[in-house]
Symmetry: C2
Subunit: 248 residues, 2 copies
């Protein structure tokens, strides 16, 4: 045995077949699969601490988890060894040593999410698992104008699922873009933190703006209202992707 | 009953869960699902004629099929009615009336295929169903140079699975491009027709050129050899997409 060290994993997954990140009494989760495979790999009970507890059905290209071990395996080799044990819809992208007190939810970070909408005339089968199909036409310029009002430090209480328990609903959005990528419309949001269902409620609200049901300037009033009822619906989970975490 | 008419369908599908296009004694196919749903919709036995009999696992955004019916439903409404009956991994993109003698394999057409390779450092779960992951680094410029030798009218016997029965192995490739799309490398080939496994053998051969196992100019010798053994391996099916059919 060597000294204890803390390992940070960058974790990518297809959320289609999981009950989200966090361990559940019923149903397989990303966290439970990581714990199972790490425990198997290191032959000691291991429990990861995750950065973002993504919902059931949400995907990730770069969620973050840490765990502690005294095993002598070089940190960068853990990704390869773990990937051989994980199911093919979970893949470690990077493994590296971090200080023992480094905690993924207690450090400053920039998180980037993407919400993908497919604008073709009919649903496209190869896109169905990772984007939302809509028959509505969406005005991109209206959505861009609306998204810009989300940028900056605001109280996002209106964009938080009711019942969520958090000390503060103030967050900073560094950028909120609406990008056209072929037949896809991608809402790309970067911020210092996100409330429960926040990106999905933002996506549902921006889509209402795109359809003409809401005005771009309504975002100002929704933020002021601090009331979930004032925002649009929560858009479906399967079109949401946690793209990356960045640490200073 | 109205007069008999011929309907052309543009068919998109995720090939993951199908035994290819063509009806099989065992296993569900795209063709069998279309026949089943059309027969159910029109309450008369209907059998489609397909343009391209894609292999098991291959995807399509625009394969073509025709069928005849005397039902009075307007041609453009058939897409909507059929999509309500089809499984979610098959979706009609367009339905339109064509002349009764129009046959999808007896008309001149331009077909476009894409073979997608993911070049990230580790496999990316959300891309695993529609692209090939490789640990090898690929030299794009070498692949482009090699692809250019495929353009034009050639005997593609070396790029045809042995045992395939065809009158002629001469085909015309209008363009063979190697495109960089983010972390993906896309081999995009447009031609007047493709032999059995031709695009997958081209992809396997271009990847060997990209890895340095073959020289770009080897394509000239492979074409001349008219021998399947001279070309590279058949690349896996799941990364291949039939993008579109175009008719003059």
């Amino acid at each position: 045995m060597s000294e204890q060290k803390r390992i940070r994993l960058t974790v990518a997954y297809d959320g289609t077949n999981y009950h989200g990140w966090q361990i559940q009494p019923n149903g397989i989760t990303i966290e439970s699969e990581l714990n199972r495979c790490l425990t198997d790999l290191f032959r000691e009970p291991i429990e990861v601490i995750g950065a973002s507890r993504t919902d059931s059905g949400v995907h990730a290209m770069g969620n973050i988890a840490v765990f502690d071990t005294t095993a002598p395996m070089p940190a960068d080799k853990i990704a390869y060894a773990l990937n051989q044990r994980l199911p093919e819809d979970i893949r470690i992208q990077k493994s590296e040593e971090v200080p023992l007190d480094w905690h993924p939810r207690h450090v400053e970070s920039r998180k980037t999410y993407e919400y993908r909408i497919y604008l073709g005339r009919f649903p496209m089968p190869v896109k169905r698992l990772y984007s939302l199909f809509t028959y509505h036409s969406l005005d991109v310029n209206r959505m861009r104008e609306a998204a810009a009002y989300l940028e900056g430090e605001h109280d996002f209480k209106s964009f938080c699922q009711t019942g969520a328990q958090v000390k503060s609903t103030v967050r900073t959005i560094y950028s909120a873009e609406v990008l056209e990528q072929g037949d896809d419309l991608v809402i790309r949001i970067c911020g210092n933190g996100f409330l429960y269902n926040m990106v999905r409620i933002i996506a549902g609200t921006l889509m209402e703006v795109g359809q003409g049901k809401k005005e771009p300037t309504d975002i100002i009033h929704i933020l002021e209202a601090k009331d979930r009822q004032s925002a649009g619906p929560t858009a479906p989970a399967h079109a949401l992707m946690l793209v990356k975490y960045e640490y200073p």
